[in-house]
C-alpha cells in the first residue's frame, strides 16, 4: 500500500491528492501550495493558539508574533522555488501529512533508535509522545517496527512528536503493570541550548527571534560542548539537531551514554554547567584558579568568539547599563572609577574600545591596589560569562525527559529540525533551513523538470526514507527527499547512523563471543 490515507481524514474532494506522491507534475499536485496558502490564512488565529498551547518549553515559550517579518527577510535570500510560492504562516494538516508521506525519513529514524536493522526492544520499548493537531498530547506510544511507526504517524498526523526513553517493558503495557514496575532503562544523553537563555547578553534580537549574529552563540556552545563530550568523556556519536527555531539539541548516542543512570547524567550536566544564577545574582562565573583543563580549553575556544561576537557583532557593552554591569564584574575600585569617567565622557564608545580600555588604564598604574592576576582572572571570568554555553541542564539530568525528534517540523516556523554537522557548525545557517512548504514545492519543481521520473502510481512508495532496494543504477528511482534541499541533511543523518551501527555491531559481537551457536542478529537486547 503506497499511502495510509484513510477517507475520514482526507476529505473526498481532495482525492486527487491521494495520488500526490506519484502524480506527474501536470496533475493537481502543484495546486497544493496555493491551497495551503488560502487555508493557512483562514486558520491563522487557530494555529497561533495551537502554537501557544503546543509549545515545548525549550523552544516556543513565546509565540512568534514577529515571525512573518523574519520570514520575509529570510525569504529574500531563498532560492527561486521558494520565493515563487508564498509562505503560509503556519503548517496546516495537509502539508504535514504530505511531509510525513513523502519526506520524513522514518526508516533512518528507526535504524537510529533501534541500533540495528532487525527490530529490537531498543525501538519497540521506546516511548514516543505525539502532539496531535487538536492539541491533545499522547504519551507512551510505542511501535514494534518502522512500518508500524510510519503507519501510525500518518494516521495520527501529529504536528510534532517527541522521543523518550527505552523502558524495561513496552510502554503501551504500562497499565497492566503494578505501579512503579515500568522503569526507564536507557536513553540518549541529551543537551539543550536555547537562545532565550542568552537574552541578557544578545542585543540584536530577543525572545523567539534569531538572526545570524546571535546564532553564533549556539555555534560556540556546540563547539565547547561537543569538544568536552568527545575529549573528556570519550563519546563519539553526537548528533546535533536544529530545534526548528532558536536552539539546538545534542543527542549523545554512544551505548555508554545511553545507559547512564540519572545521577551520572547529573554529574555530566554539573561538569558542563558554569553560568549559574539569574540576572540579579551579580557575578555569575567565579572559577577557582588554576582553571580546570576543561575550562582553560573552553576559554581558548571562546576567546575569538568573544572578540568578534560579543565585542563587535553584538557590541554588548555599548549601552551604559551593560557597561555598568561590566564594571561590576571587575575587581578594582580605583580602576573602575577611572573607566567610568572615561566612558561617561564618550558615550558611544564601542565595546572593543571599552574592553581595550581596561588593560590600557590598568597599565598606566593609576590604581595602587590593582592586582594584575586578579584582573586577568576577572577578565577570563567575564569572557566565560558572556560566551560559555548556557545549557538547560534539567533536560540532561533525567532519563525520562522527552525531546523533540529530529526531522519533525517546528509548528511555528515550518522549518525542519535538521541535523547539524558539528564539524562544520560555523557553516550552518538556521535561516536557510528548508521549510516544509518549500520542500514540497521543490519536489514538484523537480518532477516538472524530470517528467520521466514520476510515472506509474505503483512505482513510488510514498516514503521518502525507504532504502533503495534496487541496485541497478539506471532503474533506481529517486526518493522524494533526494529531489529537495533536505537531501544533504538526510545524507548526513545516514552517515551518522552508519557510524553508530558499525560500533553497535562490533559491540554485539564482543558480547556474544562465547555463544557462537546463537545467531547474533536475533540476540539483540
Amino acid at each position: 500500500m503506497p499511502h495510509f490515507v484513510s477517507p475520514e481524514e482526507f476529505p473526498s474532494h481532495r482525492n486527487d491528492e491521494e495520488v500526490l506522491p506519484d502524480a506527474p507534475p501536470t496533475d493537481a499536485t502543484p495546486s497544493v501550495p496555493e491551497d495551503k496558502e488560502s487555508e493557512a490564512t483562514g486558520n491563522d488565529t487557530k494555529d497561533k493558539l495551537a502554537d501557544l498551547l503546543f509549545d515545548d518549553d525549550d523552544d516556543d515559550e513565546f509565540p512568534a508574533s514577529s515571525a512573518p517579518e523574519r520570514r520575509n527577510e529570510s525569504s529574500a535570500n531563498r532560492d527561486a522555488v521558494d520565493s515563487s510560492a508564498p509562505q503560509p504562516a503556519h503548517v496546516d494538516t495537509d502539508t504535514m501529512l504530505a511531509f510525513y508521506q513523502r519526506l520524513f525519513p522514518f526508516r533512518y529514524l528507526f535504524q537510529w533508535l533501534n541500533h540495528g536493522i532487525v527490530p529490537s526492544p531498543d525501538f519497540g520499548n521506546r516511548e514516543f509522545a505525539l502532539t496531535l493537531q487538536n492539541d491533545a498530547y499522547l504519551r507512551y506510544q510505542s511501535y514494534a517496527t518502522a512500518d508500524l511507526f510510519r503507519k501510525d504517524i500518518l494516521r495520527m498526523n501529529p504536528s510534532r512528536f517527541e522521543i523518550g526513553p527505552v523502558y524495561n517493558t513496552n510502554p503501551r503495557d504500562r497499565k497492566t503493570l503494578r505501579g512503579g514496575q515500568m522503569k526507564p532503562v536507557s536513553k540518549e544523553l541529551v543537551f539543550d541550548i536555547d537562545l532565550t537563555d542568552y537574552d541578557d547578553i544578545r542585543s540584536c534580537c530577543e525572545k523567539a527571534n534569531i538572526c545570524g549574529k546571535c546564532w553564533t552563540f549556539v555555534t560556540m556552545a556546540m563547539k565547547v560542548v561537543d569538544t568536552a563530550l568527545r575529549d573528556d568523556f570519550g563519546f563519539q556519536h553526537i548528533l546535533w539537531v536544529y530545534s526548528g527555531r532558536r536552539g539546538a539539541h545534542a543527542w549523545v548516542c554512544d551505548p555508554r551514554a545511553r545507559n547512564l543512570p540519572d545521577d551520572r547524567r547529573r554529574a555530566i550536566a554539573g561538569y558542563l554547567d558554569l553560568v549559574r544564577g539569574g540576572t540579579q545574582s551579580g557575578k555569575r562565573v567565579n572559577l577557582k584558579r588554576p582553571l580546570h583543563p576543561h575550562m582553560s580549553r573552553s576559554l581558548e575556544i571562546l576567546k575569538p568568539y568573544f572578540a568578534q561576537t560579543t565585542l563587535v557583532d553584538q557590541d554588548t557593552f555599548v549601552s551604559s547599563e551593560q557597561a555598568q554591569r561590566l564594571l561590576a564584574l571587575l575587581p578594582d575600585k580605583t580602576l573602575n572609577d577611572a573607566l567610568r569617567k572615561k566612558w561617561e565622557s564618550s558615550p558611544d564608545r564601542s565595546s572593543t574600545s571599552k574592553w581595550a580600555d581596561i588593560d590600557s588604564l590598568a597599565k598606566t598604574g593609576k590604581s595602587s591596589t590593582l592586582n594584575t592576576s586578579t584582573l586577568r582572572d576577572a577578565k577570563q571570568d567575564i569572557v566565560l560569562e558572556y560566551t560559555y554555553p548556557r545549557l538547560d541542564s534539567e533536560v540532561s539530568k533525567k532519563m525520562i525527559h522527552l525531546l523533540k525528534s529530529p526531522f519533525v517540523i517546528h509548528p511555528g516556523t515550518g522549518r525542519v529540525c535538521v541535523p547539524i554537522d558539528a564539524r562544520k557548525a560555523e557553516q550552518f545557517d538556521p535561516l536557510s533551513v528548508p521549510t516544509v512548504t518549500q520542500l514540497l514545492g521543490e519536489i514538484d519543481a523537480y518532477d516538472a523538470e524530470n517528467p520521466s521520473n514520476g510515472t506509474g502510481t505503483d512505482a513510488v512508495d510514498g516514503e521518502g526514507s525507504m532504502p533503495n532496494d534496487s541496485d541497478v543504477r539506471g532503474s533506481r528511482k529517486l526518493q522524494d527527499y533526494e529531489k529537495t534541499s533536505l537531501k544533504p541533511y538526510v545524507d548526513y543523518f545516514r552517515s551518522f547512523i552508519a557510524g553508530l551501527l558499525k560500533e553497535e555491531r562490533g559491540g554485539k559481537r564482543e558480547r556474544n563471543e562465547d555463544m557462537t551457536e546463537v545467531k547474533t542478529e536475533s540476540m539483540e537486547f
Binding site: D231, G234, D263, R266, H292, H294, M295, S296, V518
Partner: protein, 500 residues
C-alpha cells in the same frame, strides 16, 4: 535462551558436585577464611551457628550501629565519634589486625572475631532489608562503621585489602603522569605537585561526585583520580554494593523458608534499631492537656525552636509562606497535636489577603495531604508525612530566594542568625558568642540546645534538683517537636507550685 552454565558456580559453593546427582546431594560449602581484617561482605556466611549466637551477635552489632547513628544525629565531630565508639567496639565487636597476633590471620581468635563481624552483618541485613527507610539507615550506619575501621587499619593491610577487591583501578605510569602533570595539577584542587600522589585511572562513572564538582581530570572517558580520593571511592563502592544487595535481600525475604525461630528475632531486632530520636513515633510530640488550637499558636510559639519561630514570624509578617516553609511548619504543628481542622483554620486565618476560593484551591489540599487526609493509599495509611526531624531539616536543600524553611543555625549567615535570636529576646553576650562558635564548627544542634538550656536554665535546675526529670529526659534535642514538648513541660513545671 535457556542454557545453564555449569562452569559458573556460586562462589560459596564448591564445584565438586556432578550436576546429574545434584538434586540428591547435600550442598557442601566452602569454609571462609578471613585473610583481611576488613570485609566487603560480598559472600554470605554458610556455616552453622547456634540460635543464641545468632541473636547475641546481632544485638552486639546493633548496639554499635545505633551508637554510630546517634553520634551522627548529634552532629558529633569525627574525633568525638571515634572517642565514643572505640571502647564500645572493643567491647562488643572487636576486630584486630593481622599484626596483633604472632600467627597473623591464622590465629583462631582473629578468625572468631572476623566470623562474628561477618555473620552479624548478614543477620542484620536480613533484619533491616524489609523497608526502604530501614535499608537506608542500615546502609548509612554500616558505611560509617566501615569508614571508621578502614581509617584505623594500618596501611599495609589496607593495601592488601584493596588489592583483594579487584576494583579495576589502573595505576598510571610515571611517564604518563609526567606528560599530563599540568592537567592533573590544574584539575585537582588543593594539589601542588603531581609527584605527591599516586594516581589511578578509572572509568569516570565511578567518581560522579568528582566529575560533577569538576575536580578531576578527564580524558576520553577516564578519570584520573589521585590516591587520596581512594577512601571516598572505596566507601562509595562499599555503599553501592551494600545498597544493591539489601535490595536483593528485600526481594528474597518473602521467600525465606523459615521455621518461626528466626523471624521473631529479626523483627525484634529491626524494631530496636532506634536511637529513639532517629525515628519519630506518632504522637510523641503531643503534650497531654495542653490547649492546642489555631488561636493559641501565637501564644505557644514562644516554646517553638528557632526554625519554627522563624517560620511563624515570617508568616505573621508576610501573611504568606512558600511551599516548603508551609510544609515544614504544618508538619510541626501536626506534631504538637494540632488537629487537621484547627490547622486549616490556622492557615486560613494566617493567609490574609486571599479569598476563600483562592485558599481552598491553592493551599488546602497540601495541608490535608500533610495530614494524610488525601493522597495515595500509602500516604493515607501512614497518616501523612512524619514531622521533620533536625536531621531532615538540616539535610534538605538550602532555602532559596523568598523561602523560609530550613534551620536558621545552618542556613542563615551568622549575623542574620544573631539578629534573629536577638529579636526573640536573647541578648546574653556569652550565649551568643557560644552560638557563634558552634555554628562555625557546624555544630548546629549544639547551638540550638545551648539556646534551649539558656532559656530554660531556671526550670532545668529545678527539675534536676527535684529529681523529677532524669538525665535521659534532658538529653540533646534532635527534633523540633521534642524541643516544643520539653520547653512547654518545663515552663509548666516552672509555673506550677512545687509538687510533693
Amino acid at each position: 535462551m535457556i542454557r545453564q552454565d555449569f562452569h559458573k558456580v556460586d562462589p560459596k559453593r564448591r564445584a565438586t558436585l556432578d550436576h546429574k546427582k545434584k538434586q540428591f546431594a547435600a550442598p557442601v560449602y566452602k569454609q571462609q577464611d578471613y585473610p583481611h581484617r576488613l570485609n566487603f561482605y560480598d559472600v554470605p556466611p554458610t556455616a552453622e551457628i547456634t540460635l543464641e549466637q545468632f541473636e547475641q551477635w546481632a544485638i552486639d552489632r546493633l548496639r554499635i550501629l545505633a551508637e554510630i547513628e546517634a553520634c551522627s544525629y548529634r552532629n558529633k565531630s569525627p574525633a568525638e565519634t571515634e572517642a565514643h565508639i572505640t571502647p564500645l567496639l572493643q567491647k562488643y565487636l572487636p576486630l584486630s589486625s593481622n599484626t596483633s597476633s604472632s600467627l597473623g590471620a591464622a590465629d583462631q581468635r582473629l578468625k572468631n572475631e572476623r566470623q562474628k563481624d561477618h555473620y552479624s552483618h548478614f543477620i542484620l541485613r536480613l533484619a533491616f532489608s524489609a523497608t526502604e527507610d530501614l535499608r537506608r539507615r542500615f546502609a548509612r550506619a554500616e558505611t560509617m562503621l566501615f569508614r571508621f575501621r578502614f581509617q584505623k587499619d594500618d596501611s599495609r593491610e589496607k593495601r592488601a585489602f584493596i588489592e583483594s577487591l579487584n576494583l579495576d583501578w589502573e595505576p598510571i605510569s610515571d611517564e604518563e603522569r609526567r606528560e599530563l602533570s599540568e592537567h592533573l595539577v590544574n584539575a585537582t584542587p588543593g594539589l601542588r605537585r603531581v609527584d605527591e600522589e599516586s594516581w589511578y585511572k578509572v572509568d569516570w562513572e565511578r567518581v560522579p561526585e568528582l566529575v560533577e564538582r569538576r575536580s578531576v581530570f578527564l580524558y576520553r572517558g577516564k578519570a584520573y583520580v589521585p590516591g587520596r580520593e581512594q577512601l571516598s571511592m572505596i566507601i562509595a563502592e562499599f555503599t553501592a554494593r551494600l545498597e544493591r544487595s539489601l535490595e536483593l535481600t528485600s526481594r528474597a525475604l518473602p521467600r525465606l523458608d523459615e521455621d518461626d525461630r528466626l523471624t521473631p528475632i529479626l523483627n525484634h531486632l529491626s524494631k530496636n534499631f532506634g536511637s529513639a530520636e532517629s525515628v519519630y513515633s506518632e504522637g510523641e510530640g503531643f503534650v497531654d492537656g495542653a490547649p492546642i488550637t489555631a488561636n493559641n499558636i501565637d501564644q505557644l510559639s514562644q516554646h517553638f525552636p528557632l526554625c519554627m519561630r522563624n517560620l511563624h514570624m515570617s508568616l505573621r509578617k508576610n501573611n504568606h509562606l512558600k511551599h516548603y516553609g508551609r510544609l515544614q511548619y504544618t508538619l510541626f504543628l501536626k506534631g504538637i497535636g494540632l488537629s487537621l481542622e484547627e490547622c486549616i483554620v490556622f492557615w486560613r486565618q494566617s493567609f490574609k489577603g486571599f479569598t476563600d476560593d483562592e485558599f481552598n484551591s491553592r493551599y488546602k489540599y497540601n495541608i490535608r495531604h500533610a495530614y494524610g487526609d488525601v493522597g495515595g493509599d500509602v500516604n493515607r495509611r501512614g497518616r501523612g508525612y512524619p514531622p521533620y526531624s533536625c536531621q531532615k531539616i538540616l539535610g534538605d536543600s538550602n532555602p532559596g530566594v523568598g523561602q523560609t524553611h530550613g534551620c536558621p543555625y545552618r542556613h542563615f549567615s551568622v549575623d542574620n542568625l544573631i539578629g534573629l535570636l536577638q529579636s526573640t529576646g536573647i541578648s546574653d553576650r556569652e550565649l551568643l558568642r557560644g552560638v557563634r562558635e558552634d555554628v562555625e564548627k557546624t555544630r548546629y544542634h549544639i547551638a540550638c540546645n545551648r539556646v534551649f538550656e539558656w532559656t530554660h536554665k531556671a526550670e532545668i535546675k529545678r527539675v534536676k534538683e527535684d529529681g523529677t526529670w532524669n538525665q535521659t529526659d534532658l538529653d540533646t534535642i534532635v527534633h523540633p517537636n521534642t524541643y516544643f514538648k520539653r520547653s512547654y513541660l518545663l515552663k509548666q513545671v516552672g509555673k506550677a507550685p512545687k509538687k510533693a
